[in-house]
């Protein structure tokens, strides 16, 4: 069906030109470096905007592609090998909850030590960091997609003798499309958040430079150039929205085809038209090319080779298990020794303020959390019985969540510095901007899931709106509220690292807190022991708080307030 409509003739040519341009950018790292050197030292101006947007987008794309590959390997291993799942799933869980931004200073440190202080190490550090913000839920997405393949479908495909590459093409890859795509949207939003953060951090206290929308914004504001700042923000929002409209939305529509619905439902009429409407014109020649390639593949030989490689890896794994164990044990000991050395007293005098800093950061997050709930819960309840408002607000929340809150940090700082109690107020406000979308987004989803018949039965019993809110809507939203809270909490620790220590117009504004200490250790005192101490404390706090509070609350709420039987 989709083949019958001819694709525009210029498309393949345009595609080739685009690919060549990409290749030209990447061939020869020295050329890239020279280009970078030309861009870097100059103060940014409005005409650098497209280049900045391009660099940011390139960084995002690189880390996203790396994330997808790693996520596939991890997710596949976890879904097919129980032994791997036992190790990988908790690892992914911790990776997801740890505030990655805290590791950015450490990552810069590592990459610069390894590769020297050039642009490449900064780029790699930034890409690595964005990668660590994207990979976890992508891996969960692959794992979920593979492990929710219905048993009978799996058995049916096996009973037909489908194996090897054909199995990947017809079952394993398509089965992951919906969950991978859903998680990609989250990952991409996370990535923007971190990308902007990285660029701001780098452009702030250090004299390094990563050309991009984030660094341009913080530089523009630092010298008070409002035109450039506004232009930069518009460009950022424009890029995010364009991606949402041109890439994610069509892909989401297309991915509906990859769901299993055993019973036919009302979506059927849509399903017939979707693939054609939704596939952007660009995809069609790509798909045709992929099909032609597939037809030419020497499948039998490839399968044979793959099977041999698989068997070889298993055999190698078995013989290498002992040495590998010894090696990883040695590496663990080495890492412990290194951390021990870094943590060895005498500690700098600042270390004494760590407990207080932790407490203050914790209080700041709580304040932001309470403030966010104070406006979100009433709003969510208000829209709960107004379907049209609910839909409109959901779109707003979706867009709001996809625009990186970090971009507004410099703006907020520029507006608020020296006013309303100064830095203390700013850091809470910044934490709030990072936190509220997660909460709103999840709470709206929860409100939307309250079954209409339950609500109507309560109305028939003569309950007032307020009573219905209290006895039905609020309890029914509890699971989504907790889910949103977990994500918001994790995100806010990240925001604090950025918001407790701000460079504006050459001045450093800071409040006592864990995030500020981390920044000071990296950029001011250069104290490795303080860096490791605050990092360790941060990770410990977040992980134990998740385990002790959120996990339990999540389990309790999900058994107590689940609506479906």
């Amino acid at each position: 069906m989709s083949e019958s409509r001819p694709s525009p003739r210029w498309l393949p040519a345009a595609l080739v030109v685009a690919l060549l341009a990409l290749a030209a950018l990447f061939v020869g790292p020295d050329r890239v470096l020279r280009l970078a050197a030309e861009v870097a030292p100059r103060e940014p101006a409005l005409r650098d905007l497209p280049a900045a947007a391009g660099w940011s987008l390139l960084r995002m794309t690189a880390s996203y592609l790396a994330s997808v590959v790693v996520a596939w390997i991890a997710g596949y291993a976890a879904a097919t090998r129980p032994g791997a799942a036992r190790i990988l799933l908790p690892l992914l869980d911790v990776g997801q909850s740890v505030p990655v931004l805290g590791f950015f200073p450490a990552a810069i440190y590592v990459f610069i030590t390894l590769l020297g202080g050039g642009r490449v190490s900064l780029e790699l550090a930034a890409i690595f960091l964005i990668f660590t913000s994207q990979v976890w839920n992508l891996a969960f997405g692959v794992y979920e997609g593979l492990s929710t393949i219905p048993h009978e479908t799996r058995a049916a495909v096996e009973s037909l003798g489908v194996r090897g590459l054909l199995l990947w093409r017809t079952l394993l890859l398509p089965a992951c499309v919906p969950s991978l795509l859903y998680n990609s949207i989250l990952s991409w939003a996370n990535g923007w958040y971190f990308l902007i953060a990285c660029e701001i951090i780098v452009a702030g206290p250090v004299k390094y430079d990563l050309p991009g929308l984030g660094s341009m914004l913080s530089r523009a504001l630092a010298r008070g150039d409002l035109t450039l700042a506004i232009g930069d923000l518009i460009a950022l929002v424009g890029v995010v929205l364009a991606l949402e409209l041109l890439v994610w939305r069509p892909l989401r529509a297309w991915s509906r085809r990859f769901r299993y619905d055993t019973q036919s439902d009302e979506r059927v009429s849509g399903a017939r038209t979707l693939p054609d409407l939704a596939l952007p014109a660009l995809v069609r020649p790509l798909r045709a090319a992929a099909r032609a390639l597939w037809r030419r593949l020497p499948l039998a030989r490839l399968n044979h080779a793959l099977a041999a490689i698989g068997a070889g890896t298993v055999r190698a794994g078995r013989t290498l298990r002992r040495p590998l164990l010894v090696l990883s044990a040695a590496a663990a000991v080495l890492a412990l020794v290194a951390v021990g050395a870094a943590l060895r007293p005498p500690w700098p005098a600042e270390a004494a303020s760590l407990p207080l800093a932790l407490l203050l950061s914790f209080l700041r997050i709580n304040a932001a959390y309470v403030l966010a709930l104070l406006w979100i819960i009433p709003v969510a309840l208000w829209v709960s019985d107004r379907p049209r408002a609910l839909r409109a607000l959901s779109v707003v929340a979706q867009v709001g969540a996809s625009i990186p809150a970090t971009a507004f940090f410099p703006v907020l700082v520029a507006l608020l510095v020296g006013r309303f109690g100064g830095m203390e107020f700013i850091s809470i406000a910044l934490a709030l901007t990072g936190m509220q979308w997660y909460l709103l987004f999840n709470l709206l989803a929860g409100v939307g899931r309250v079954p209409q018949d339950l609500r109507e039965s309560l109305r028939a019993l003569g309950l007032t709106r307020r009573e219905i809110h209290r006895s039905l809507v609020l309890p029914a939203c509890m699971p989504s509220l907790v889910t949103g809270s977990v994500a918001a909490w994790g995100g806010t620790w990240n925001a604090l690292i950025l918001s407790e220590y701000v460079v504006y117009r050459g001045h450093v504004y800071q409040v006592l807190g864990l995030g500020a200490l981390l920044n000071r250790a990296t950029f001011e005192t250069g104290s490795r022991s303080l860096l490791f101490l605050s990092l360790g404390l941060l990770v410990l706090t977040v992980v134990s708080f998740n385990r002790l509070v959120w996990d339990r609350l999540y389990r309790y709420v999900n058994t107590r307030y689940r609506l479906e039987a």
């Binding site: 219905p150 009978e152 479908t153 049916a156 495909v157 009973s159 489908v162 299993y260 059927v268």
Partner: protein, 247 residues
């Protein structure tokens, strides 16, 4: 042509070993329509998956045409209760799947898929996606997919349980028609069901399994003349005598 020799299967659950199938010896001769019935949890589906080679037995051996079976039996095909079609492939591509796995040329894949889709009455729905079909049509597509690999044994796991009464009655008749069709290569059928009337209506022979673990409780031929009807004399007696063996 299929021989199960003292077949047992057990699964591990939280460190405990639970026997599902115990010591089943059974021979399925060519051109037989065999039904396996039993209470839920009797391991009927597991027994069928063992016959198909989808899961290895814990002990005992399967022989197919006198040779021990190791791995998926590529000369057999299976139909499932949930239809198990891939929602992202068209009906045609679903039917071609098993043929592609056998590395048949494109031309042959298309020809055979078209032939069997026509046989099950889905001629005009080649380009449709499974989501656009009714339950009965989905099961027809699944049937065509199984027949297209031209198996000499057809395994069916409660193939009519996911359908409404009228559709399943129709499809039952059609499956019997396909089974009797001399132009088709498949003449041996093993079907799992929990509906005794269905077994009596369709089978040459009914094997009754006990519950947890599944053992053979009874093995009885059904000699009622075909075509059968629920109102035939002797039908109810047959159903009752099977029912007694189950409880």
């Amino acid at each position: 042509m299929l021989l199960l020799n003292r077949l047992s299967k057990s699964v591990e659950d939280r460190g405990r070993t639970i026997p599902v199938i115990q010591d089943v010896t059974l021979e399925v001769p060519e051109r037989q329509f065999l039904c396996i019935v039993g209470p839920s949890g009797s391991g009927k589906s597991t027994l069928l998956r063992l016959m198909m080679g989808l899961t290895p037995p814990t002990s005992g051996t399967l022989y197919y045409h006198g040779l021990p079976l190791d791995g998926v039996n590529l000369r057999a095909a299976m139909v499932f209760q949930s239809f198990a079609l891939l929602p992202w492939l068209t009906v045609q591509a679903n039917v071609e799947l098993g043929l592609r796995a056998r590395d048949l040329p494109d031309e042959e894949c298309r020809r055979r898929a078209a032939y069997y889709l026509d046989k099950v009455g889905l001629d005009g729905f080649k380009e449709a996606y499974p989501g656009e079909l009714s339950g009965g049509m989905k099961q027809r597509a699944a049937l065509a997919r199984a027949l297209a690999v031209e198996p000499d044994l057809l395994c069916m796991d409660e193939p009519f349980s996911g359908l409404d009464a009228l559709t399943s009655a129709n499809l039952r008749e059609e499956v019997l028609g396909l089974w009797a069709d001399l132009a088709l290569p498949v003449h041996t059928v093993v079907m799992v069901t929990h509906i005794i009337e269905e077994a009596v209506l369709m089978a040459d022979r009914v094997v009754v399994l006990t519950s947890r673990p599944g053992r053979i409780a009874a093995d009885m031929p059904v000699t009622l003349p075909r075509p059968r009807n629920k109102r035939d004399p002797g039908f109810d007696e047959m159903v009752d005598s099977i029912f007694e063996k189950i409880v």
